[in-house]
């Protein structure tokens, strides 16, 4: 609390990003965990809650006629624009927020104060929801060739690896230790994915400390053992996900890559995925493009091209495809590494897993995959997501890229995934929000040292409980092309701009009607009708019930479709920047909108429907009550994620 210079400012204006005429006056509150904006006179209490830990940057702009603009830029790509009447207030809020949004210690993060009103048993249950041991046994491990080696139980061999690691049974402790000494940060080759059908594996590690000529017998034995643990194959791939030039440059620092001559039966391959710095800059450019104010088609496409973002996504996808094909089609094991083996390696291994195994295309499967390949294997969430104030150069959207690869796959295979894009976006937010303990710290050891499981909650159970929102109605698991390996096209036109992620808060950009939501409702209704019918069969001797049933059927069916047609609507900005004839009539237009669509708003239950759907959002838009950007950033500390507007 000591950081809050100004807990409350009145007469603050919240300005819509896309159109300055949609503003709302209200009161701004700063609490220890949230920035809260309460609009004046809004009956449905459409408040805006922004977690401090989700704030990426706070910017003061030059004073305008109406006051002092303050921009809050969030890690979920939301940009909130306040105009504060007094300069001193604006400055105080700025200073307070700048400090609050840059925590120095883990203890300041929201997950440690978040208390969803559940008892200890429930909290522990939330952590037990995912069990990696169960995941490995789902894969068919341990078996006669692979087992868990306890060597890293105390994180002594490698402090960024998990405690339980699968290695070939044939490998002895000295080999592991020797190999780990020959690898950056001790990250020796270990198993990430095992393919039951043909025994091929995806293994991961960091780069070898080979320099220009160094060798390590144990490391060579390690790779040999991995290769031999796949009895059907005579060689294995070693995939270095870096551009060749980067890998060569590392040799000068005593690191580098495997020399094919020193290792028996390996095929070495570079896959040029750029490093975290390139990716950070690329995403920055992409965000700038997404935030352009009414760009022309040419500006947008050129900006998209110049950001190089989709090129990077394609390179990750191609790497994943290469590995998944090696495993599924050739039956050959693959060792993947980059420099440290926690960024590109995690991306590529998990993309390959999604392509290989339909399980990872289910809700729980994706959770497990992230828990395994990212959380347990020491992807440095705190550094990459900038949870704490620190080195800006360590921040990079590595996991964003993985989620985007999954999204691109969902676009290509609309029936192959159990989840929908809301699920990916929710995961994205939780990774950055520090609302739950899962993505705090940089390794399993750090989390253990901090007693995260005792002090914070796990997000996975929470997401699982909301799973109805995340279902893809088109999911067809039994379809043959959705089983086994997915073979995405990597033609350039298959890579699209992810509007829902980058322009999520620009409502007017999204479809006004949601096919997905409509289908979901239809499906749910069908199911309910089936249940009704079953019930009806049971009691059909009773005429009275029969009568009731018919009535129910009729009403319900009518209701479903109409819920999605209450699209209240407003014109877009068709004028562009050109001077136009309409500017004088804006007042009239807003009021015209009000009477035109006022009734519609009442009928659509904006409060209950997900903010994502676009339909309900929109009706609140045109009702004249400025609907606020209030999605997952809206958090009420007392009622979990249910913001006041959702209750």
């Amino acid at each position: 609390m000591e950081h809050i210079r100004m807990p409350k400012v009145e007469h603050v204006r919240l300005v819509d990003r896309s159109s300055s005429r949609r503003t709302q006056v209200g009161t701004l509150y700063l609490t220890a965990t949230h920035t809260i904006f309460v609009g004046k006179g809004s009956e449905d209490r459409n408040d805006l809650w922004v977690l401090h830990s989700l704030v990426c940057n706070v910017v003061k702009h030059k004073a305008s006629q109406s006051g002092y603009p303050l921009l809050i830029i969030c890690k979920n790509f939301q940009v909130i624009r306040f105009i504060i009447p007094q300069e001193s207030d604006c400055h105080d809020v700025y200073i307070s927020l700048s400090r609050l949004s840059r925590p120095e210690k883990y203890e300041e993060l929201y997950c440690f104060s978040f208390n969803p009103n559940v008892d200890k048993a429930e909290r522990e249950h939330s952590w037990d929801f995912l069990d990696l041991k169960a995941e490995y046994s789902r894969m068919g491990l341990p078996n006669k060739l692979w087992h868990v080696n306890p060597i890293n139980r105390e994180y002594r061999v490698c402090d960024t690896y998990p405690a339980d690691l699968f290695v070939p049974k044939s490998v002895t402790l000295p080999v592991i230790v020797g190999s780990s000494k020959f690898r950056s940060r001790g990250r020796f080759p270990t198993l990430s994915y095992y393919c039951k059908e043909n025994h091929a594996t995806i293994c991961r590690s960091s780069q070898p400390l080979s320099g220009f000529s160094a060798r390590c017998l144990e490391d060579e034995q390690m790779l040999q053992a991995i290769m031999k643990s796949n009895p059907g194959s005579r060689f294995m791939y070693v995939v270095d996900t870096r551009p060749k030039l980067n890998a060569m440059a590392n040799r000068a620092a005593g690191k580098g890559y495997e020399n094919e001559d020193n290792y028996c039966n390996i095929k070495f391959q570079f896959i040029g995925i750029e490093n975290i710095h390139v990716m950070r800059n690329s995403q920055q450019k992409l965000i700038e493009v997404s935030a352009l104010h009414s760009p022309s088609m040419g500006e947008f496409l050129t900006g998209l091209e110049n950001s190089d973002w989709l090129r990077h996504i394609k390179s990750i996808m191609e790497a994943g495809l290469f590995i998944s094909k090696a495993v599924a089609e050739e039956g050959v094991s693959v060792l993947v590494h980059c420099s440290d083996g926690w960024d590109r390696t995690a991306q590529v291994c998990s993309v390959a897993s999604v392509l290989l195994d339909p399980y990872y295309r289910t809700l729980k499967g994706l959770m497990v995959l992230i828990e395994k390949d990212w959380v347990s294997f020491g992807h440095m969430f705190s550094h990459r997501c900038g949870h704490l104030i620190g080195e800006a150069k360590e921040v990079s959207p590595v996991i964003d890229q993985f989620l985007e690869c999954v999204w691109q796959l969902m676009e290509q295979f609309p029936c192959a995934f159990e989840y929908n894009e809301k699920f990916l976006i929710s995961i994205h937010i939780h990774i950055y929000s520090c609302h739950y303990g899962n993505f705090i710290c940089n390794s399993q050891k750090e989390r253990k040292d901090l007693c995260i499981k005792e002090k914070a909650h796990s997000v996975w159970l929470h997401l699982w409980e909301k799973k109805l929102d995340f279902m893809n109605p088109l999911f067809k698991p039994d379809q043959s092309q959705n089983q086994g390996l997915l073979r995405p096209s990597t033609a350039p036109y298959c890579f699209k701009y992810w509007r829902r992620l980058y322009n999520r808060f620009d409502r007017e950009l999204h479809p006004r009607q949601s096919e997905l939501d409509c289908l979901m409702t239809v499906k749910e209704e069908t199911q309910k009708l089936e249940e009704e019918l079953a019930l009806y069969e049971q009691v059909k001797c009773q005429i009275f019930n029969f009568h009731l049933h018919k009535v129910f059927l009729f009403n319900f069916s009518d209701h479903v479709f109409s819920a999605y047609t209450s699209l209240a609507n407003t014109p877009q900005d068709y004028i562009g920047g050109a001077p136009n004839v309409f500017t004088l009539q804006q007042g009239e237009r807003e009021s015209a909108e009000l009477c035109l669509f006022g009734d519609q708003t009442k009928s659509s239950d904006a409060d209950n429907s997900d903010q994502e759907s676009g339909v309900a959002d929109f009706s609140s838009h045109s009702s004249g009550e400025e609907s606020l950007p209030s999605e997952d950033s809206v958090k009420d500390p007392d009622s979990d994620e249910t913001g006041p507007n959702r209750a």
């Binding site: 997404s290 009414s294 022309s296 088609m297 040419g298 500006e299 947008f300 496409l301 050129t302 998209l304 091209e305 190089d308 989709l310 090129r311 394609k314 290509q412 295979f413 609309p414 029936c415 088109l474 092309q481 096209s489 033609a491 350039p492 036109y493 298959c494 509007r499 007017e508 950009l509 999204h510 479809p511 006004r512 009607q513 949601s514 096919e515 409509c518 289908l519 239809v522 499906k523 209704e525 069908t526 009708l529 089936e530 059927l553 069916s557 479709f561 999605y564 047609t565 699209l567 609507n569 407003t570 014109p571 877009q572 900005d573 068709y574 562009g576 136009n580 004839v581 309409f582 015209a592």
Partner: protein, 556 residues
Amino acid sequence: MELSEHIKTANVEDVTLRRPFHPALRGTLCVTSHHLLFSDRKDEASWQLLILLKNIDAIEKRAVGSSGTITIKCKDLLVLQLEIPGMEECLNIASSIEALSSLESVTEMYPFFYRPSHLTLNGPWGLSSTEQYYKQTERLWDRWRVSTLNSDYSVCPSYPSAVIMPREVDDDKLIRSARFRQGGRFPVLSYCHHRNGMVIMRSSQPLTGANKKRCKEDELLLQAVIDGSELGYIIDLRSAQQAQQARMTGGGFESKSFYSHWKRIHRHHERGKVVQESLIKLVEACSDPSHSVDRWLSKLENSKWLSHVHSALSTAGLVVECVERDGHSVLVHGSEGTDNTLLVSSLAQLILDPASRTVTGFLCLLEREWIQAGHPFQQRCAHSAYSHARLKQECPIFLLLLDCVWQVWRQFPLALEFSEALLLRLAQEVYASNYGTFLCNSEQERCAAGVKENTHCLFQSLLRPDIEEQYLNPLYEPTDLAIWPSVHPQSLQLWTGLFLRWTEYAQNMEEAREEVWSIVKEHHEQAGPDRTNNTLSTHCDTLTPFENLMDELTIL
């Protein structure tokens, strides 16, 4: 010369057919006056591919030893390869295709020979007429009338025989106004808004010329449209500079001083060759999956196709704003008033008018606003994206319309009664068809060629219940509201269904479409008969791309 004289080799055996994402097939190739027929007779269930020769945009031949390869590039963007044993046969086939795919005379074209047993040539042709539109639109009866002054097409050769005009303007005045407009295309009513009675008019540019001529009758006509008191908007589909320049060649624009109640807004739209070249560049960009993402995006940008989509939708949105929100009537025109003008006015109607979002309503809209309104289909669609022929009047404005409609559907997936399949079918039919609907450049030409007497109407055929159900949107739920599309670049997408139609990309989308149908069907089965009167039918097989080609195949 008889068509058959172009055929030197009618049959070749042992031809290998290659098409994207299918194994190569061997079979017999057969050339007839209007078709290329490939049949694979080895299996018991013989598989046939029938291509209208008119659908062929370009062919390339290549000799490989003693045999030859012909690459056929179709106007619907399909590319096929035929390996023909025997160089002579190959050259004969190629020259037949070249000659027969570019017939000039309308009455030699296939629609004049298409005689399926289930259709008869007697009975009315088409779905709608000016008179019918007038009859249906009660709002018009008071102040508007149907004028038949163009019944012999002498006032305006590209207009239909009947047009809707303000009652207070007599035919003499109209004739004078027509003389003052390029091609005689005087302002006529295109749409009357059911909510407020405001209208969308369209015309060609006024012939003001360098010395700022005026035409009293034209001014009176437009005055009568807005009925004195209010204000109207003229949406000029050229930049202000282009409109100024047009005066040098006898064209021009409505000057403020003579049309004091009309406010002119200029919106620049590309036309003609520029749009055609956009299509060529876009199709070229889509045809190479090995490009890098950067190269693809730069080619996509460079093609400017999406920019045209963007302009068309934004100007249509502007028209709708004028009509629906601000309650003013609008006159739309560019230069000739046969291309972008129709694009904008028909899109505006789709956005405004729930009636034009049903299958029937949409086809009626196309019939009134494109076919009867004199879009020169024959000139515009002579060639598509692959042709090496020197471009003359080609311009894919109609394709652009379909793309824009597709964008609207993406943004309002429940608001249109028809599905993407109908748009794809139309995209194909407009270039090569069994039906007479898209033949000729105007009603006058259609009349002269006897199109209505001697060909079948596509739109009527699409509305036959068994055919129509293939084109329904399973999620359709009518809405009375205007459906304003977003025109932000982030909201506009490449129409993959058309431009990537023959890639693997399309196949997964097909699966998704089938799943949507099955979810909705299952729902209806459960919900019982109460809801089966909805748009959904109990049985519908979605077309696979190739069945589409084979659709309504007649046995030769």
